[in-house]
């Protein structure tokens, strides 16, 4: 037996879903965005997983920083399976013309690659490309290096002091994704060339990686155990196929959450459309509900009749969203598959679709249940008195709505990669929504007051804005939320772009020189000064000794990573750069303690960066132990300082007093600022006097960052615009819900002698005001959201894109005003007599 409420619901639904188009669109948009984000992320995850062996370059990879593997270690690896070795370093490439460029040099053994293919142009195989030609080693290089140095394939040039010949253009390496950030074009050479050229010498920051294709029968766990037993403690890292590209895995997680968050915000903004559609539907069905009750139906039967209809429609909306969300990545993937930086397997993945469906159904419940309560509370006396509508009261529907909203928030936080950030974002959206709603209510009240001061169309517009069906508390919060998201994204991006294009070039060095021999430091200073052609001051040139070390103990106890705060763990779980400086440098940023005298020669003292110190609760006077140059050094924290990384100064995490490292003949690092011409000249001139000094162009890195931002800008703003679209859907819903009343109003105004322009003006005033309120409030909230992200999270300079912000306000007002005009034209298009007769 079919329940009566289901029978009645199905009969009601035969009238079609015309009144529910906005309801369906709001749900479908949000669910579609979440499903598309999840499906895309899953496609990337599956792509990475399917090529994990290629990305890793084998079954297991062992990274060893700052030294090569010993013969004993190599023997142990060989026992596990086939092994290839690769050593990575940095060096300067120099063309016969004198043009120079830092390159990422990688030397590989003859067994490379164990898995996958190196893609080359100009040579048939890796071995052919890397074979020596006379006294020159063969190398494969990326095209930008050829372009930069004015070389062609077959040309000879120098890497460091080693002559090489460019045999092939390096198009792709199978294990490229598992390696890190690049400061220059890649050069692939033989391991023998890299070793023989001195690029793996002590003191040079290089690393060697062994990749192992395990023998049949040797498990990854067994291999890991064997490797751990072979290698001494500290420094090295083992990766396997599950952790082939952890950086990309994290990036995909974050990207999924960001895009999914925008989908969720769209669901929340569109929730007003859902709520409005349900409310308008029940308003239109008020007589039916009252009639059912007059016929003997109780509140639960009436409520369930409409609850089933809304549930079926919500399922339809979610289904449409899932279809769109599943199809969009497939289409997008087919269009741009060859341009993707990460392998992707586009397919239909049930898990992200199920998650998106759950989000959609919870949002539908959160926004539908409260208005649905009106079906239960509408009294049968509404048949006699139209003003009697069921009110939203505390009851099972409202409690259900609140529970669904709580479950929605919980789900959003539980599925986020960073729970705290997700909680802040969800809380921010909920708070912003509440603020926008209250602003809408206040605006409606203000319009009611202001209409007394006006006359004609303005008064009609303001009266409507103040009325019970005002868009000020339906469309305005929804549009405002979309504008707030867009504004936050625009302001964060504009600040970050300004940081890399304006602030950073002013503050940061233009060039960084590394691998300066300690015993030739003064000569190096002179060479740089000669190239600049002018005396150098600390404002445009500074040089510091540099060493690499690791903090191994704090207050006499070995490092326990679990006790180090995650925010500063980076300073304790890897080798870090440090320096030794005598007198207190300018902009030392001392926040606690006192710097030592230039002539200090007592027990070692150290100045420590404040976030690193805070992570281990270190205070001035505490002791730390460093593993430095092969020995342990105990030092006492004398200074805690704030370091502005990327500024023109000694931005080291640790600075020791010079006596602590006396006699160590440390390598030096230098930073310089100059014009592009001076940069080019010093890069070129150092080729003669200091060919092994690496010259890193910060300007190029900033340009690369800017290009990356430019490429991301459109995509990110496009994604954020989805939330804006949800706002417009709510506006359309509000206009549609009021269409009948508007037609009657327009007909009445025409009967009273109003001209078309007066009706249009009244609507333009009303909806323009809604858009302006939404735009202003949204941009203000966008400012509130963006500022802490820019200043506190990215520690960048706050820079406002006023043009973008004003465009958003004007765009919101113009779009909503246009919506109002369309509504007015539709109302005016109907002849007054039939409209008035219908009432």
């Amino acid at each position: 037996m079919i329940p009566l409420s289901l029978r009645f619901a199905v009969r009601e639904l035969r009238a079609g879903v015309r009144g529910f188009r906005i309801f369906l669109a709001c749900l479908a948009l949000g669910v579609g965005a979440i499903a598309a984000a999840g499906s895309t992320a899953e496609a990337f995850r599956a792509g990475l997983a399917s090529q994990a062996a290629e990305i890793l370059g084998g079954d297991v990879a062992v990274d060893m920083p700052l030294r090569e593997f010993t013969p004993k270690e190599q023997t142990a690896f060989a026992a596990l399976g086939r092994v290839s070795y690769a050593a990575a370093s940095r060096a300067m490439a120099e063309a016969p013309s004198g043009a120079r460029r830092l390159v990422e040099l990688r030397g590989v053994s003859e067994t490379y690659p164990l898995v996958g293919q190196v893609t080359l142009s100009g040579a048939s195989s890796v071995q052919a490309a890397l074979a020596p030609a006379g006294d020159a080693a063969g190398v494969a290089v990326e095209q930008p290096l050829l372009d930069r140095l004015g070389l062609r394939l077959g040309d000879r040039f120098l890497i460091g002091n080693v002559p090489v010949v460019a045999r092939a253009v390096l198009l792709g390496e199978p294990d490229r994704l598992s390696r890190g950030f690049n400061l220059g074009p890649r050069v692939l050479a033989s391991l023998a060339m890299v070793r023989g050229g001195g690029f793996l010498s002590s003191g040079i920051p290089f690393g060697e990686t062994a990749r192992i294709a395990l023998k049949p029968g040797v498990s990854v766990a067994a291999a890991r155990a064997a490797i751990k037993n072979t290698l001494p403690s500290g420094g090295w890292r083992i990766r396997d196929r599950d952790t082939a590209a952890p950086g990309y895995a994290r990036l995909i997680d974050q990207l999924e959450y960001f895009l999914g968050f925008i989908g969720l915000a769209s669901l929340i903004a569109g929730g007003l459309g859902v709520s409005g559609a349900v409310g308008a539907y029940l308003e239109a069905r008020k007589t039916s509900i009252a009639t059912l009750k007059a016929l003997g139906a109780d509140g639960a039967l009436a409520r369930n009749t409409y609850l089933i209809q809304i549930a079926l429609l919500a399922a339809l909306g979610v289904g449409i969203g899932l279809a769109v969300g599943a199809a969009a990545p497939l289409i997008l993937g087919a269009l741009v598959k060859n341009e993707l930086p990460v392998p992707a397997l586009f397919a239909i993945y049930p898990e992200p679709l199920a998650r998106a469906a759950l989000f959609g159904l919870l949002a539908a419940a959160a926004f539908s249940l409260a208005p649905l309560g009106r079906a239960r509370t509408t009294p049968p006396a509404a048949l006699f008195r139209q003003e009697l509508a069921g009110r939203i009261r505390i009851g099972p529907e409202l409690i259900g709505a609140l529970l669904a909203a709580a479950a929605l928030a919980w789900l959003a936080i539980a599925t986020a990669p960073t729970k705290l950030a997700a909680a802040i974002m969800i809380g921010g959206v909920a708070g912003a929504f509440l603020v926008l709603f209250l602003i809408g209510l206040a605006a409606a009240r203000a319009a009611g007051w202001a209409r007394r001061l006006t006359a004609g169309p303005a008064r009609i517009g303001l009266a409507n804005l103040a009325g019970p069906h005002s868009a000020a508390h339906t469309a305005a919060p929804a549009i405002g939320l979309g504008v707030a998201l867009l504004a936050a994204v625009v302001l964060i991006q504009s600040s970050l772009i300004a940081e890399v294009t304006v602030a950073a070039p002013k503050a940061a060095p233009a060039l960084v020189f590394t691998e300066i021999p300690g015993d030739a430091a003064a000569a190096f200073d002179a060479a740089v000064a000669r190239a600049f052609g002018r005396p150098l001051t600390p404002k445009d040139y500074q040089r510091f000794p540099i060493a690499t070390g690791r903090i191994v103990a704090v207050r006499g106890a070995p490092i326990d990573k679990a006790k180090i705060a995650a925010s500063g763990r980076w300073a304790y779980d890897q080798d870090i750069s440090l320096s030794a400086i005598g007198p207190q440098p300018a902009d030392a940023g001392v926040v606690a303690g006192r710097w030592w005298n230039a002539a200090y020669a007592g027990p070692p003292l150290v100045a420590m960066e404040e976030s690193a110190a805070r992570a281990a609760r270190l205070k001035v006077g505490d002791a730390i132990t460093l593993d430095l140059l092969g020995r342990h050094l105990d030092a006492r924290v004398a200074v805690i300082r704030k370091v502005n990384f990327g500024s023109f100064g000694p931005d080291f995490t640790l600075i020791l007093d010079p006596a602590a490292l006396a006699g160590a003949n440390l390598r030096q690092v230098a930073i310089a600022k100059g014009s592009p011409a001076e940069e080019a000249r010093v890069t070129r001139d150092l080729g003669g006097s200091f060919p092994t000094v690496n010259v890193i162009s910060v300007r190029e890195q900033l340009q690369a960052a800017q290009q990356l931002f430019d490429r991301l800008t459109l995509a990110v703003r496009g994604a954020a615009a989805v939330a804006g679209l949800a706002g417009l859907l709510v506006l359309a819903g509000a206009i549609a819900a009021g269409a009948r009343a508007r037609a009657k109003e327009a007909a009445t105004l025409k009967v009273l002698g109003a001209a078309r322009w007066q009706v249009l003006a009244a609507y333009a005033v009303e909806y323009g005001a809604v858009g302006a309120i939404a735009g202003l409030a949204g941009v203000a909230l966008g400012f509130a959201a963006a500022w802490p992200v820019v200043v506190k999270v990215f520690e960048a300079t706050w820079s406002v894109d006023w043009a973008g912000a004003l465009a958003l306000i004007a765009g919101a007002a113009a779009l909503t005003g246009a919506g109002g005009l369309i509504a007015a034209l539709a109302a005016l298009a109907r002849r007054p007599a039939p409209v008035l007769r219908a009432e």
């Binding site: 009969r11 007059a294 016929l295």
Partner: protein, 228 residues
Amino acid sequence: MYDASKPGAPLTLDDVWLTLPSAAGPVEILRGVDFGVEPGERVAVVGPSGSGKSTLLAIAAGLERPSKGKVRLLGKELSRLGEDGRARLRRGRVSLVFQAFHLLPNMTAEENVAAPLEIAGAPKAGATARAWLDRVGLQDRLTHYPHQLSGGEQQRVALARALACRPALLFADEPTGNLDQANAAHVADLIFELAAATEAALVLVTHDERLAARADRVVRMAGGKIAA
């Protein structure tokens, strides 16, 4: 449970008042109304607009709560029942016919007539509905929706809906008010004929003195009170 075959009035109103709030202050719609209906009795309530006729009917049927006074419907004191309790009391035993018909717009004529039977859990609701539509002359309009029917046809569907469950009490609020003369006469005939056939007591609110004259008793209202 009220049993129409046992003695006792199916409806009594004892000193019933209704005061509604308004912007200009409280408005007294009913002012101490005493009213009752005997089993099978046909009572017409007449009076000028605003005299409280329809409100009296709404309170008597349990659609509205009085501000003061007692209403006893089918042996139950309504003030002791919540809205759902009153709805359950009406099920299958109290029916209403309205001036504006109030058919469910998304249900066919047959479904409209079957709805109260289904709500009451009556067996063979569809067959009963078809039989009643046949009795009101709408056997060829079973699958028509309300908007596909004329006003007279809609009111006949409403009448079939009201009587299909053989109620003890039928309330009719200006049932001919929206109809032309011919349809009004037809519907009036049907109301009296079918109410008699089902032995339902009838409370008929109307402006039409000729229609009222067909009742066993005429109650006149003015200013929220029963005048005679």
